[in-house]
């Protein structure tokens, strides 16, 4: 397995004995997730005699993932593997912001505002964006969604801001 195509590897900050940083970090992160899950399910009841408690299955899968994560990390230590792929900040940041803005504005501001705002924020995710074009397409898409979801599909979506409706 080589690095994901189209992405140049970045310099590793890991010690030399880690031969496959991609697997190593991946495995360690899985272990962290497993430990978190084990902690989160620690308040649940375990086995009662031979019958499962609420916490048995989560703990079982948690330990399994812990073991598998360790195995993946060990593979990363002992075998030559891919370097860490380069992360870009712009795309993930603005797409996340767009999603967050949608989540926060849909209730108070209604769908028209939320969709348009989220479209514009997401468009910041690439330097190729041309603003006039983006605004026109955004407006068209918002109009399309405003017709499609509540009217054509009959989903209960509020279009306008709450303060305008009252």
């Amino acid at each position: 397995m080589n690095a994901t195509p189209g992405q140049e590897p970045v310099k590793s900050f890991l010690p030399k004995w880690v031969r496959g940083p991609q697997d190593f970090i991946g495995g360690v992160a899985l272990m962290a997730i497993a430990l978190f899950a084990l902690w989160a399910s620690s308040d649940l009841q375990g086995m009662r005699g031979f019958s499962f408690g609420a916490g048995t299955a989560p703990r079982m899968f948690g330990f399994l993932l812990l073991g598998l994560g360790a195995a993946v990390a060990l593979v990363g230590v002992f075998t030559e593997g891919a370097h860490l792929a380069k992360y870009h900040w712009r795309g993930p940041l603005f797409v996340s912001l767009a999603i967050l803005s949608f989540a926060f504005t849909i209730r108070p501001m209604g769908m028209i505002f939320a969709a348009m705002a989220s479209f514009v924020i997401a468009a910041c995710g690439t330097p190729e964006t041309r603003w006039v074009e983006t605004l026109i397409v955004g407006a068209c898409l918002t109009a399309f969604c405003a017709l499609l979801f509540p009217y054509a599909l009959g989903l209960p979506l509020q279009l306008l801001p709450t303060f305008l409706i009252r």
Partner: protein
């Protein structure tokens, strides 16, 4: 035999149902409208529309379009979903052939020879053969489902909790063995999915598990939410990395001469036949499904061809065989879902999600209690295939134009569309945020070469596995050997163990990797 015909008849009856529409402006006159056919048609069109966008695979398409079926009655919704699914698959092959960007693993193989054909100006025949092959495979698979559906339902009655658990283990192992890349990492992803499925309420005691007192989590992580995050948002973020425009080498020649020549048809007929048989068989296996079928069919064609060196330079068999196999497998993978209630792959897992949203629990009971739903869906698959053949082919020009829409305009639209979709499932803003979080998780997974598809499968099978494991152990009074002492369960477990051993054996691993590497270069 009579059963089969009556079942299929019932199915087609449902699909061709007419509803009398009495609009006011006609003054009382009513027009019969084939509602389900229309839904199937719309589904196929919308599915192609989204599936044709580069970098968006079948799973992402179905996940994204899931919300538009919510407002419909269950039968209509499932028929539309079947249409969306086939549309998405067809859209995927269109992008593979025209742009060389396969949206998902299943159409990687199609891109090999399909794109070469397109470069030679033979995109039309390639697309046509893909559709014709798919249609033929769809016809055969529909009959196969009708043949096998009822007997397998009877088999399901012999299944106790122990057998169900073993079968699911087998399915997951299959998914691992047939997945691309590291076996270990695929297993880790499945277990991650199983762990995620534990969030929510315990089925027996009702205790809240890992929900952190967040009300939206009390019911568990929404399946559509996770799928849209992992496949929709993550794909968008990843494609932004690549710089959007750089890797799109769209075939600039005009797509002309859609019809394949007589020689094309003669060359591809046996390939379609072989692909169909291979695909139908592989589709029934749990965990197999479309991906491996297309790889296997391509490899087979190459093996038995008189001049294998031609493959990869635009031979029509290289398009016909994997496309037929892909479609046959996609269709027959409904068999384990409908008869045993076990989704064999991620797309079927999404179908389960859709069914549960409509209050249907897939499994042998559905076949007996709601036959019109099951057979209607099976018939609609066939109709969906036909739609693709007669409607989508002439529309190829439009799909090509759609490919020219720049990514900078497309991706914000997808973000908005997905957000509205997720929100409309439960009217919950938290779901949207969760999907965003899973988008970042998915991006991270891609960066570390973890496959998200096994995770999704694990997530769907998690609750089923836990329930059956608990029940099996309760019946056996805590005796774990029950999985090995009950003969049917023991056989399933033995196959699973054998497969796992085979998968890690160096010689077979090498061969398996070869198939995938070959297809990548």
């Amino acid at each position: 035999m009579g059963d089969i015909f009556s079942n299929l008849g019932l199915g087609f009856g449902v699909v061709f149902q007419f509803v009398q529409w009495t609009p006011a402006f006609l003054g009382g006159a009513s027009i019969p409208i084939p509602v389900n056919i229309l839904l199937c048609l719309i589904g196929a069109l919308v599915g192609t529309l989204v599936g044709v966008l580069p970098g968006i695979g079948t799973i992402a398409t179905v996940a994204m379009l899931l919300p538009i079926t919510f407002g419909l009655p269950p039968v209509g919704a499932l028929i539309m979903l079947a249409g969306i699914y086939y549309g998405a698959q067809y859209g995927g092959s269109t992008t593979s052939i025209l742009v060389n960007i396969p949206g998902e693993a299943g159409s990687v193989v199609t891109a090999l020879d399909g794109f070469q054909m397109a470069k030679k100006g033979r995109a039309g025949p390639a697309l046509a053969i893909a559709a014709i092959g798919s249609f033929f495979a769809g016809c055969v698979a529909t009959v196969l489902i009708a043949l096998l559906g009822a007997p397998l339902t009877k088999l399901a009655l012999a299944f106790g909790p122990a057998e169900y658990f073993s079968l699911m283990v087998l399915g997951l192992i299959f998914a691992v063995v047939l997945a691309k890349g590291s076996v270990l990492k695929a297993i880790a992803m499945i277990v991650f999915g199983l762990l995620l499925s534990m969030v929510g309420s315990d089925i027996e005691t009702g205790a809240s598990r890992m929900a952190f007192n967040i009300p939206e989590l009390a019911d568990g992580l929404g399946f559509a939410t996770v799928a849209m995050g992992l496949f929709g948002f993550a794909e968008i973020i990843r494609n932004l990395d690549a710089g959007g425009e750089t890797d799109r080498k769209l075939v600039q020649e005009k797509v002309t001469g859609l019809m394949p020549t007589r020689k094309d048809l003669k060359d591809s007929a046996p390939a379609i036949l072989r692909g169909t048989v291979l695909g139908s068989l592989l589709g029934i296996l749990p965990g197999g499904g479309a991906v491996i079928a297309s790889f296997a069919a391509y490899t087979l064609e190459k093996k038995i061809s008189k001049n294998p060196s031609q493959f990869g330079h635009g031979v029509i068999q290289g398009v016909a065989a994997p496309e037929s196999a892909n479609n046959a497998a996609a269709q027959t993978s409904f068999i384990p879902l409908l008869t045993l209630g076990i989704p064999p792959n991620a797309v079927m897992a999404l179908m389960v999600g859709a069914m549960t949203i409509h209050g249907i629990v897939p499994g042998p009971q559905v076949m007996q209690k709601q036959p019109e739903l099951v057979w209607g869906m099976i018939a609609s698959m066939w109709v969906g295939n036909l739609m693709l053949l007669i409607i989508n082919l002439p529309l190829v020009g439009i799909w090509v134009r759609l490919l020219r829409v720049p990514y900078r305009l497309m991706f914000p639209a997808i973000v908005v569309f997905c957000s509205i979709g997720i929100y409309s499932v439960n009217n919950a803003p938290t779901d949207v945020m969760l999907a965003g979080a899973f988008g970042l998780v998915g991006y991270w997974l891609i960066k570390h070469d973890f496959e998200p598809a096994p995770l999704l499968l694990g997530m769907v099978l998690g609750p089923l596995m836990e329930e059956n494991l608990r029940r099996a152990l309760l019946i056996s009074r805590g005796d774990w050997s029950v999985f090995l002492t009950r003969p049917l369960s023991a056989v399933l477990m033995a196959i699973a163990a054998g497969l796992l051993v085979l998968a890690v054996l160096p010689s077979l691993r090498k061969k398996r990797d070869e198939v995938f590497v070959e297809s990548e270069n």
